[in-house]
């Protein structure tokens, strides 16, 4: 059973965490994810969860505590944003390489400087090579749903990798919207209990976690991480299928929106996908063959799915809410173009950097962008990469 409710993205994620009732949460508050540990503290104070809540003194310590708890055999979680995630970077790599299925609620926010509290994807994009699975959410519902699926993915024996569930700071974290909340019982049944195969507090089998690895062992560890990330594709698909069977809400690695017969398309992640869909509807209404591909999963990267989704697309806009400062486009731009190479060639692409530091992305912005893609399709010259929605 489920109920219709309304809540912000942060409250939705906190509700999922209450239902998950993890063994340990270690967190340090940072805008815009602060409300999540706040909610958890009140759940704990009101006896709704029996989680050990560790109020650490920094995000570096938060991730360290999660690593310790997870290695000991506990289900461990955290929440963070922006500079907080950046302070965790060192430990994110440790969590992934130690194969600890920690789950993080990431509320995306720009990195300094200039200092800014609003949404972009620079924080989690900076962690894209850390070995974490990354799932992005369009709205509060998806943030909630992705969080309910995260442990099943992370703890699967073929995966055993940490997962971050991302949503856009303020845009969805602080926006109250309609949401369907599942009942606690079925959710707990869906997630199940966590019984790790190997853990530090097992008296029957001694174990070392995170020892020094000399060159003759190190590369085999990395090879296994690669294998785990690759296996995550099938696991994410399977868990999403089970979730759809329970809730009726069906998620893939990507979402194709009105891609049938699309000649112009954008690839986008996070809250802007919804705004883009509204633009696609308007354009389709006036006969423009527009479509949209939303990336739900960025790690592992859905390269084959993106290429397959292209169909008859002739001009594609790849939307990055982060500039990796490669001076030739953002991270999604580079990887999406890589996905098309050798699979779906001949598509003209423009990589747009948009929405940095909370810069608004409107329906009209998408319409302008599709208009440019139409000109590019018809032979107009365009930069391979440009900023959208900037004064210059």
């Amino acid at each position: 059973m489920s109920r219709n409710d309304r809540m912000s993205g942060n409250e939705a994620v906190a509700t999922a965490i209450r239902q998950i009732n993890p063994d340990v949460i270690a967190a340090f508050p940072i805008t815009p994810s602060t409300e999540i540990p706040q909610y958890i503290s009140s759940f704990k104070a009101n006896g709704l969860i029996d989680t050990e809540f560790v109020a650490v003194e920094s995000e570096h310590s938060a991730m360290s505590a999660c690593i310790g708890a997870s290695a000991a055999g506990a289900r461990a979680m955290t929440a963070t944003s922006s500079a907080g995630m950046a302070l965790m970077y060192e430990l994110l790599y440790v969590a992934a390489s130690d194969r600890l299925p920690i789950v993080m609620a990431a509320v995306n926010r720009a990195l300094s400087g200039p200092i800014n509290i609003n949404a972009d994807h620079s924080d989690s994009m900076g962690a894209r090579d850390s070995g974490w699975i990354q799932i992005y959410s369009e709205n509060a519902q998806e943030a909630y749903d992705n969080m309910l699926m995260a442990h099943r993915i992370a703890e699967h024996p073929d995966v055993m990798l940490p997962v971050m569930v991302c949503q856009d700071g303020f845009i969805t974290s602080h926006a109250v919207e309609n949401i369907v909340i599942e009942d606690d019982g079925p959710v707990r049944g869906f997630i199940g209990s966590y019984s790790p195969e190997k853990y530090l507090l097992n008296p029957a089998e001694s174990l070392g976690v995170g020892p020094y690895s000399v060159s003759v062992y190190y590369m085999e560890i990395k090879r296994q991480q690669f294998e785990a990330m690759n296996s995550a594709r099938a696991v994410i698909a399977g868990v999403s299928e089970d979730f759809a069977a329970m809730t009726g809400r069906d998620y893939g690695m990507i979402e194709k929106y009105r891609m049938e017969g699309a000649e112009l398309a954008v690839i986008v992640m996070g809250s802007a996908a919804g705004t883009g869909k509204a633009a696609v509807d308007r354009l389709r209404g006036s006969g423009v063959k527009a479509g949209l591909v939303k990336l739900r999963v960025f790690r592992p990267f859905p390269d084959a799915e993106i290429a397959e989704a292209m169909g008859g697309v002739r001009a594609l806009g790849i939307m990055d809410r982060c500039d990796g400062f490669s001076a030739c486009g953002g991270p999604l731009g580079a990887e999406a173009r890589g996905a098309l190479y050798g699979r779906a060639e001949g598509i003209k692409t423009v990589n747009y950097v948009y929405g940095l530091g909370g810069r608004d992305m409107r329906v009209e912005d998408f319409e302008a962008l599709f208009a440019e893609l139409a000109r590019v399709r018809d032979g107009a010259e365009s930069l391979r990469c440009r900023y959208h929605g900037v004064r210059e």
């Binding site: 303020f170 845009i171 602080h174 926006a175 109250v176 802007a272 919804g274 869909k277 329906v363």
Partner: protein
């Protein structure tokens, strides 16, 4: 879809009012959004909050530039902030003011929308003993936007206050009085 933009100052409860309105509309079965725009947060600085209300799921996640309704929580914002910017044709402004109708009309010279005035400060002080303008303004918005009728709204809010103020039921009466007065006190000028 009804799109509403709230203009207030930090600390006046414009964000809370937008969230309360989302709650009230949700109770009628609508799809809702209520969200603030976060700038440099400090008491007294101009802030903006938004609502989208629809009978269809809402997918747009951007601020509102062409509102159907503008709510001005603090009349001193009129001038320094272009509060009626982008107001839709046939749209409405609701302003919390103690000025005379002629003065209010002067304040919104050139505005083509309907102007509704309400002295939310006075209503709030009389009914709740404190200046909490967002409760009376909420009633004015529900009335002007036609989200629901007076009886349904009063019933809805009574339930909502009983839940919200479970720990301090003594404030429920004042809040209910405020929204009752506000329903009648919001006037088209």
């Amino acid at each position: 879809m009804i799109e509403i933009r709230w203009h207030g100052r930090g600390g006046q409860g414009a964000k809370t009012a937008a969230l309360l309105l989302a709650d009230a509309a949700f109770e009628t079965g609508m799809y809702v959004q209520g969200f603030p725009e976060y700038g440099p947060e400090r008491m007294g600085a101009p802030i903006t909050a938004y609502n989208r209300l629809d009978d269809q799921p809402i997918r747009i996640h951007s601020n509102i530039y062409e509102p159907d309704i503008v709510v001005v929580v603090d009349q001193t914002l009129v001038g320094p902030v272009d509060v009626t910017s982008g107001l839709k044709k046939g749209g409405a402004v609701i302003v919390n003011t103690d000025l005379s109708p002629a003065e209010v009309r002067g304040m919104f010279k050139g505005c083509t929308g309907a102007i509704h005035a309400i002295d939310a400060r006075d209503i709030s002080l009389r009914s709740m003993g404190r200046n909490l303008p967002n409760t009376p303004l909420l009633a004015a918005v529900v009335k002007v936007a036609g989200i629901m009728g007076e009886d349904e709204f009063l019933k809805n809010m009574e339930g909502s206050f009983a839940h919200k103020f479970a720990a301090k039921p003594e404030v429920i009466k004042g809040n209910m009085l405020a929204i009752r007065e506000a329903w009648r006190g919001a006037v088209l000028i």
